[in-house]
Symmetry: C2
Subunit: 338 residues, 2 copies
DNA sequence: TTGAAAGCGCTAACAA
DNA sequence: TTGTTAGCGCTTTCAA
């Protein structure tokens, strides 16, 4: 039983009174055929509502025009935004996308990758700093937004990431400009290399202003969650009497910190300034609206899609490593410049 | 040039010293074979890292184990949560998912559906109240969370939705219990039938308490966005001096309303109580934390997956129309019971 | 300009 | 228990 009694190319050929080869040529616009024949075939296709079978086409051509996207957590609005843009751009190029949530699990990621390989996807975009993806050595792939732990510069793989270092620098600079002198850092440096880069930017900004980097002011969370950040804020606050600024390595952490500060009846930004990172869709609606670092989702996704398609087509890449600029978005969670 | 010089079943057969049929039997665990043969074949597969070609398998069996999910906007956390759960459950059943964002565009939706048909997907889950999906008449499909405008009860299609009416009722009842007597409704009833059902629940709750339903207190937004809701709040507030409650048909709208009230220096819930709908991940972190209606994402996605897989396998369905209960989550945006 | 036919990798019916 | 083989729908070479 065929699921939807689909026509095949042979039936279209019969209805048009031509051979299957000719129908194929008309559909794919290659080879030669009279405009008369073309018109007849087109009409039959139109009238019958024929849709070519991509599965058969893929088998024959070894190209299925599907791209796999490996993403840690689609619920995170930063990743969701990235995936949405990728999907739009790939669709415009004629590619479908299979989105694979890994939930940060290496096991699950491996299973997903096997499935993608079995499906013969044309390429893969990794938004995931996985350590083990040698499985896909021969498949066009791009790393986006997260640098694999194993990555080393002269790599055969393309890496596209934000200028995290500058982001960390700008946010810290803003806090310093706002008069903060005792800045705590809320991060989760084990998570990915982005946070490490942001941390370096933070250290640079401190150094530049002649402030010292006190390890006791750095708080590493076990996971990036609102609740963890809020709990940590409540825990550490009593021990830092002169705290006047918190540099949060993601907007999610910032929301937790803000929540904690509210519970402590600390006013933001009068008593403590807070900055985030990502510019999540809701960041402008936090209370107070969050000063944060905006990542350029359009540029990130654009570079990823462009690179990947070039790789698939066997074209030469201009760059193996794209660093996308970030920008500071000033809102109300930091004091006006003093 | 094969992209990743993949082995095929024939090579595995040769390496194992058996026929392709036997290899196929071992892989799919059907037919009979000696445990000796099985062990040999398994070892070869293991050592060679062979992954069967799903494309060929799909072509042969007309089953590709891919499900298409049509979703309006993956950036909306309610939809993102639903999609994430669907993906997890389908993956556990051996299905991959192709996620298609329509951005509420019928055009785009049609293109996506054509692509899905061409890919010979095994089924489709529509999280989308599209009016025109007869294209897929013969493909197993489930409507989830949004009722198609054309839907009529004794349908050949499965519909899975939350008990929106009760949700609207419970939220309104909570506002009334909190002492509200002049309740405004912020909705976007053109968007989908869910909002219409919630509105009926609202009317029922009012009637039950002997309150009248004043059409002048109903505000329909052109789109569900934080900014629109906030703007509308600012616009209407001056004309409703005794406003003491706002029933918001989604959490997104509620966030806009809260933002507007903050700007008007109105305290929540002392002066005005606010309720939402969805229980978005961030709803607990609004200021104040939002009283809202929780939709059971697990139950919704579970029912959808179960129904769809039964349809694909040609099994009989217990129910064509599943209504999933909702629950009231009380937080700080409504006054304590008076 | 068009058609015949091989074959992509796999499954499944039939044969042994 | 295992092997042989047709054929899923399509593209593409070769021939006409």
């Amino acid at each position: 039983m065929s699921k939807y009694d689909a026509l095949n190319i042979k039936q279209i050929a019969e209805l048009s009174g031509v051979s299957v080869a000719t129908v194929s040529r008309v559909i794919n616009q290659n080879g030669r055929f009279s405009s008369e024949t073309e018109a007849r075939v087109r009409r039959v296709i139109e009238e019958s509502g024929y849709v070519p079978n991509f599965v058969a086409k893929s088998l024959r051509t070894s190209k299925n025009h599907v791209i796999g996207i490996i993403v840690p957590d689609i619920l995170n609005s930063h990743f969701a935004g990235l995936v949405l843009e990728l999907e739009k751009k790939l669709f415009a190029h004629g590619y479908s996308t299979v989105i694979c949530n890994t939930n940060e699990s290496i096991e699950l990621e491996k299973k997903h990758i096997d499935t993608l390989i079995a499906q013969q996807v044309s390429g893969v975009i990794f938004i995931s700093g996985t350590k083990t993806c040698k499985v896909t050595q021969d498949i066009p792939a791009v790393y986006l937004d997260r640098r694999p732990a194993s990555y080393c510069e002269p790599s055969d793989r393309v890496l596209i990431e934000s200028d995290n270092r500058t982001g960390g620098y700008l946010a810290t600079q803003k806090l310093i400009e706002s008069g903060c002198r005792n800045i705590a850092v809320f991060c989760s440096r084990d998570m990915d290399t982005n946070q490490q880069a942001r941390f370096i930017g933070y250290q640079e900004a401190l150094a530049e202003s002649g402030l010292s980097c006190d390890e006791a002011m750095t708080f590493d969370l076990h996971e990036v969650s609102i609740l963890q950040a809020r709990d940590e804020m409540l825990r550490i606050f009593p021990s830092i009497p002169n705290l006047d600024g918190v540099l949060c390595m993601t907007d999610t952490i910032a929301l937790g910190v803000i929540t904690g500060l509210h519970e402590l009846n600390i006013t933001i930004p009068e008593q403590v300034s807070v900055t985030g990172f990502d510019d999540a869709p809701l960041a402008a609606y936090f209370q107070p609206p969050l000063t944060t670092i905006r990542q350029d989702i359009g540029a990130l996704s654009g570079a990823a899609v462009e690179s990947l398609i070039k790789m698939i087509n066997g074209e030469k890449l201009e760059s193996q490593h794209v660093v996308v600029p970030v920008s500071l978005v000033v809102r109300k969670s930091t004091r006006q410049q003093v």
